[in-house]
């Protein structure tokens, strides 16, 4: 399967607690043609955002650790809504909760092609 290099027309929710990291992720995704929703830095706000569903989006990228809070509840909420998402993490795969290891993830620092690949 050849990776799709374009995210043209997709609305992507970015959940990332570090401002600078959020900036680079947004820049990469925007370069690939996506529309950014967010970014949101706190788990509680992000969960509320997903649950209300006021602003629609197609994909999401989740930082695993948000100010010390794991983003698994967000993953559950997204999975319930059948919204594709990927984890972004600085940890190796072993640090992930076994229940969430099957979800796609990309590791920090970000490789632009890999990032676009998991979300396309």
């Amino acid at each position: 399967m050849a990776p799709n290099t374009s995210l043209e027309g997709l609305r992507i929710l970015v959940v990332e607690d570090d401002y600078l990291v959020a900036q680079i992720v947004c820049a990469m995704l925007e370069d690939a043609g996506a529309t950014i929703v967010g970014p949101i830095g706190w788990a509680r706000e992000a969960l509320a955002f997903i649950e209300t569903g006021a602003t629609p989006f197609d994909r999401a990228i989740l930082d695993i650790d948000l100010h010390g809070v794991k983003s698994y509840p967000l993953a559950d909420a997204l999975a319930r809504r059948n919204i594709r998402f990927a984890f972004a993490t600085g940890y190796g795969g072993g640090a992930l909760d076994p229940a969430y290891r099957e979800f796609p993830r990309c590791e920090k620092p970000f490789n632009e092609r890999a990032l676009i690949g998991v979300l396309a």
Binding site: D17, Y19, L20, G41, W42, H67
Partner: protein
């Protein structure tokens, strides 16, 4: 109350095992039994709440939980609700709530007695399975009021706990002791036959004419008299018939004839009827006025002149269940309060019914019996125990209860007051005639007699004088003559009467002449004679007996032997004995009688049984027939000796000597007899005292029994506690064995109390070492300062914690004071925790952190190098390097932080030092604030940008510029702690350019907001910029609620 709607109400009392008993009971009750049932139980509250449903499974009758004020309806079942006492008033239920903690011990007694008081003979009480004696007094109350009583005996429905029904049966007051399923039928029969009684007795209490009654009742009286010795002839007809009718119901006999037949054949039935007849309704201070009069007129005089060594003796015959006894005891006690010296008080309370005495001794009464008693008395003399009241020990100690019949048994003596209320009414006149003189005998001179309001001393006014007529109080007349016949003499013939009957014979005309002749002949020619009993008591004297008899010294009596003149006595005694033994006439010739003047008369003495005395004690006629003239002593002697020779004279002299000796012997004998009599009296009184001490012993025995029961309970509790202790101990042993933490308990002298097996790792310790001082044992490793640490703990300066290393092993030693139950330090508990692995992990962690820091810095250096190679030389590359350096500084701070917290001042100073070092243009001022690592990176980068800016364009570029950095801790609108930081530049020659928006400003205005929820604000003043940052420093909003924990966290930061 007994209107047409009247129907019997059945009280059912049950306790442990009651469910099965009730099941059995209601299976035996038909539909529409014509009764109402009220169930009173001791069951635990949880089970009771289910009871109505459980009972309704067994009976088609409607079952409901009793409610206050509900009218009792026929063919209904009511159940006592939990934590309540039930009463019955006017056929309505009354409920008194009681607390959970105050459980009533005798709810059945309370309900039964109120039921009895309310509906009398329409009441029935049933005692079912249960574990104590509740219901017994209730049964008595029902029985007293003429109701029906039943108790359970064993069958397949129990009773599982027979104590309660057995106690009721034990009083002898239970009409039917039956298996439960047979009770229903009996009660239905009872409901029907209760109406039957009305056909015998009309409503006004008179007997309805009934042909069978006239014959049957005397017959029953006679059967009772023969078997029990009690004559119920004086008993009131109505009461008698009611009680008899109840027995007929019990025996199931429909006609009086059948019942009389039954009585003839069944001695037990006679006893049962007898017992029922004796039941007496009593209450405290029954007839208040009379008791008041007694208290004012009599009681004070009883104590007059008596000191502490004297005894006031009271006798209460027919005391029944003791209410009258305790009433008098209360009066006495109240009087004693007014006295200085307290005489001893003995109240002999007697009754022939022993079951009643048991109840009287127990002295526990339902509250309803105390109605009408003053509150003070109730408070002073009774101890409330649930709904019942117990007489205080103080009163009970006065009272001696014993079985005794006032008619058959010898009376008490030297009594100060006899209270005999409502006993005489049950006696006929004859019996009263025996009892009242008995009382006269028992009382000391001036003693008092207290009778019931409908009783009187009738024709015994010569024995008693009235003190208060209305209250029936009498005083013994001291001057009354003898002739009191004690119960021992009952049945003895009254001499006056027997002769009287002969004298009253109506003379016929022919016989009249004969009689006149007889009288004259008797008078003039018949020898003087007397009529005597077999014991020698004179019953009748003829004329002219003075020559032979003379009044003896001392108390007047009728004993012929003491009255006979000198010389007569010996022959008279012998003749009388012969006559009594043989029943024939005995004659003694030549008996000499010595007159007052010393002259002698020979007489012929004849004793012969009086004829026509069949069936009675025989009487004897004693005749004195003179022989010859009266002689002087010498003449008499010479006459006697005239025809005799010397040998005869010799014999005569010997005979005279012998006679004299005999005479003196006789006198000695009589003295001895007198002594015996007085000894006998002493014995009687000793016997009496023994009886009373026996009573006391019996009472103490009862107390001991109850004490024993209490001890049993206490013992059971103790056993339970010991078991709990055993369990706790075994838990402790298991804990000790399973724990890996070496623990040792030392007392104040450092002696080992106990220790866990893991101690063996630390000390050379064996199980036998418990009890030895720990200083005797050698430790496996050096314990520096161990003794000082123990001293510190004993001094109360808190627990001590210390780490000790022994080669690769590390131990954490904690010494904690051992506090006993008084919270005093009684020793020390020392635990040795092996922390080798923790110590190892700690050192590994230190290595790891150093490695991480090293790698991070290396990585940053590599990034620096890559940038150097990649980027062209210029401003961008310089800016990148400077920012990378700032990042490296922050990383250094973070990795050096020991507890994830970094001091704000340190961040600022580090940053400023990187630019300029110490500079007097710069002031840094603020309280110590510790920030979490998550805040540090972004804030440090922001400060770095501000500083870079100041160096490049602002206050630090100019010589006159000033930089003030200050911060404080405040609260935001949500009351969460926030850091308020102000960066103020001043002294610039021209205003700063506000149009520039570089990376630095973006970072401050956006990154702080995004990452840390901070607020930032730039002000461009005339001589420099001011940047204010407000940053929450509590926990992140995602982690917890922002209120209380935030505050706690905030103070921690400030500190």
């Amino acid at each position: 109350m007994t209107a047409p709607a009247a129907f019997p109400i059945v009280g059912l009392g049950a306790s442990a095992g009651g469910i099965e008993a009730l099941e059995g009971f209601f299976t035996g009750v038909p539909e529409q039994p014509g009764l109402a049932f009220v169930i009173v139980t001791h069951l635990s509250p949880e089970r009771e709440s289910l009871l109505p449903e459980i009972v309704s499974r067994y009976t088609p009758l409607p079952v409901e939980s009793a409610t206050d004020g509900a009218a009792i309806e026929i063919d209904h079942v009511y159940v006592l609700p939990p934590d309540a006492i039930l009463n019955c008033v006017d056929r309505h239920l009354q409920i008194h709530r009681i607390g959970h903690d105050r459980r009533e011990r005798k709810p059945i007694d309370i309900f039964f007695s109120s039921l009895a008081a309310d509906i009398g003979e329409w009441a029935a009480g049933v005692v079912l399975s249960g574990g104590d004696s509740d219901g017994t007094l209730g049964i008595k109350a029902i029985k007293e009021h003429g109701g029906l009583t039943l108790a359970q005996v064993s069958d397949s429905f129990g009773p599982h706990h027979p104590d309660m029904p057995n106690s009721a049966i034990g009083t002898g007051l239970v009409d039917f002791a039956l298996p439960v399923h047979e009770m229903g039928a009996r009660l239905v029969e009872f409901a029907r036959s209760t109406h039957l009684l009305d056909s015998i007795i009309s409503p006004d209490g008179k007997l309805v004419e009934h042909p069978a009654l006239g014959q049957a009742i005397p017959e029953i009286y006679s059967i009772l008299r023969n078997q029990t010795g009690h004559d119920f002839g004086g008993y009131k007809d109505k009461t008698f018939l009611r009680r008899m009718h109840r027995r007929m119901q019990v025996t199931g006999l429909a006609t009086i004839e059948a019942y009389v037949e039954r009585l003839r054949q069944d001695a037990e039935e006679v006893a049962a009827l007898f017992r029922d007849l004796l039941i007496n309704v009593t209450s405290f201070f029954r007839d208040t006025e009379a008791f008041e009069t007694l208290a004012t007129l009599v009681i004070p005089t009883l104590f007059e002149g008596s000191g502490a060594d004297d005894t006031v003796r009271i006798w209460v015959p027919g005391c029944s269940t003791g209410e009258e006894v305790y009433s008098i005891a209360m009066l006495l006690r109240e009087q004693m309060d007014k006295l200085g010296a307290m005489p001893r008080v003995q109240i002999f309370a007697t009754d022939i019914d022993e079951h009643s005495l048991v109840v009287a001794r127990a002295a526990r009464y339902p509250a309803i019996l105390l109605d009408g008693m003053s509150k003070e008395r109730r408070k002073r003399f009774f101890i409330a125990d649930g709904g019942s009241y117990v007489v205080t020990k103080e009163l009970r100690e006065f009272c001696i209860f014993s079985p005794h019949s006032v008619i058959r048994d010898p009376p008490f003596s030297r009594i100060d007051l006899i209270s005999c209320r409502n006993l005489l009414i049950y006696f006929g006149l004859d019996m009263q005639g025996q009892v009242i003189p008995t009382f006269h005998y028992a009382l000391r001179p001036d003693g008092y007699l207290f009778l019931g309001s409908s009783e009187s001393i009738s024709h015994f006014a010569d024995l008693f004088e009235s003190v208060d007529k209305k209250s029936r109080i009498f005083r013994r007349r001291a001057d009354a003559g003898p002739g009191v016949h004690l119960p021992l003499m009952v049945g003895a013939v009254r001499p006056g009467k027997s002769t009287g009957t002969t004298a009253r014979r109506i003379p016929l005309s022919g016989l009249a002449l004969r009689q006149a002749v007889d009288e004259q002949v008797l008078d003039r020619f018949a020898p003087p004679h007397v009529l005597i009993s077999r014991d020698g008591d004179v019953v009748y004297y003829s004329a002219r007996t003075g020559k032979y008899l003379e009044a003896a010294a001392g108390v007047p009596n009728r004993q012929i032997l003491t009255m006979a003149r000198k010389g007569l006595r010996l022959d008279l005694r012998a003749a009388l004995r012969d006559a009594v033994e043989t029943g024939r006439a005995v004659t003694k010739d030549g008996v000499t009688v010595e007159g007052d003047d010393g002259r002698v008369q020979f007489i012929n003495l004849t004793v012969e049984p009086l004829l026509n005395q069949q069936g009675r004690d025989p009487l004897f006629l004693l005749l004195f027939i003179d022989q010859g003239p009266i002689l002087s002593r010498e003449e008499a002697l010479s006459r006697a000796h005239a025809a005799q020779d010397g040998t005869a004279l010799q014999t005569e002299r010997e005979l005279r000597d012998t006679r004299e000796r005999l005479q003196s012997m006789m006198e000695e004998y009589e003295t001895a007899l007198e002594e015996l009599k007085s000894t006998n009296e002493e014995l009687v009184s000793v016997n009496e005292e023994q009886q009373s001490s026996n009573e006391e012993l019996e009472a103490s025995k009862e107390e001991l029994v109850s004490l024993n029961e209490e001890l049993h309970t206490v013992n059971a509790e103790l056993t339970g506690k010991v078991e709990a202790l055993d369990r706790a101990n075994s838990d402790l042993v298991n804990l000790f064995d399973s724990t890996d933490i070496a623990t040792v308990f030392l007392d104040r002298k450092l002696v080992i109390r106990s220790f866990t097996p893991a101690m063996a790792k630390v000390f050379n310790i064996l199980p036998t070492d418990a009890g030895r001082p720990i200083t005797d044992l050698s430790s496996r490793f050096r314990l520096p300062g161990f003794a000082e640490d123990i001293a510190t703990v004993f001094a109360g300066r808190g627990p001590v914690q210390r780490r000790v290393q022994d080669g690769p092993a590390h131990f954490l030693i904690r010494l904690v004071p051992y506090r006993d139950s008084d919270r005093k330090i009684g020793g020390v508990v020392i635990t040795f925790v092996d922390v080798s692995s923790i110590t190892e992990a700690e050192s590994r962690q230190t290595v790891l952190i150093a490695e991480l820091q090293h790698r991070t810095r290396n990585l940053l250096a590599v990034v620096q190098s890559v940038a150097q190679q990649t980027l062209e030389k210029g401003e961008a590359r310089d800016a990148f390097f400077v920012r990378l350096a700032a990042l490296a500084r922050v990383q250094g701070l973070i990795s050096n932080a020991t507890d994830e917290q970094i001091e704000l001042g340190e961040i600022i100073r580090l940053e400023l030092r990187a630019h300029r070092g110490a500079d007097n243009r710069i002031s840094v001022d603020g309280p110590p604030v510790r920030l979490g690592v998550e805040h540090v990176q972004t804030l440090a980068l922001a400060l770095h940008e501000l500083a870079t800016n100041a160096v490049k364009y602002g206050a630090l570029k100019e010589d006159h510029g000033r930089l003030q950095i200050s911060w404080s801790i405040g609260r935001n609108s949500e009351n969460a702690p926030v850091l308020l930081l102000e960066w103020r530049e001043s002294g610039l020659p021209q205003p700063p350019d506000s149009s520039k928006r570089g990376f630095g400003r973006t970072l401050i205005e956006q990154a702080l907001v995004f990452t840390l929820h901070a607020k930032s604000e730039f002000s461009f003043l005339a001589d420099g910029i001011v940047c204010r940052i407000e940053m929450p420093i509590g926990p992140a909003p995602d982690q917890s609620a922002p209120t209380s924990e935030g505050e706690a966290d905030g103070t921690e930061h400030v500190a």
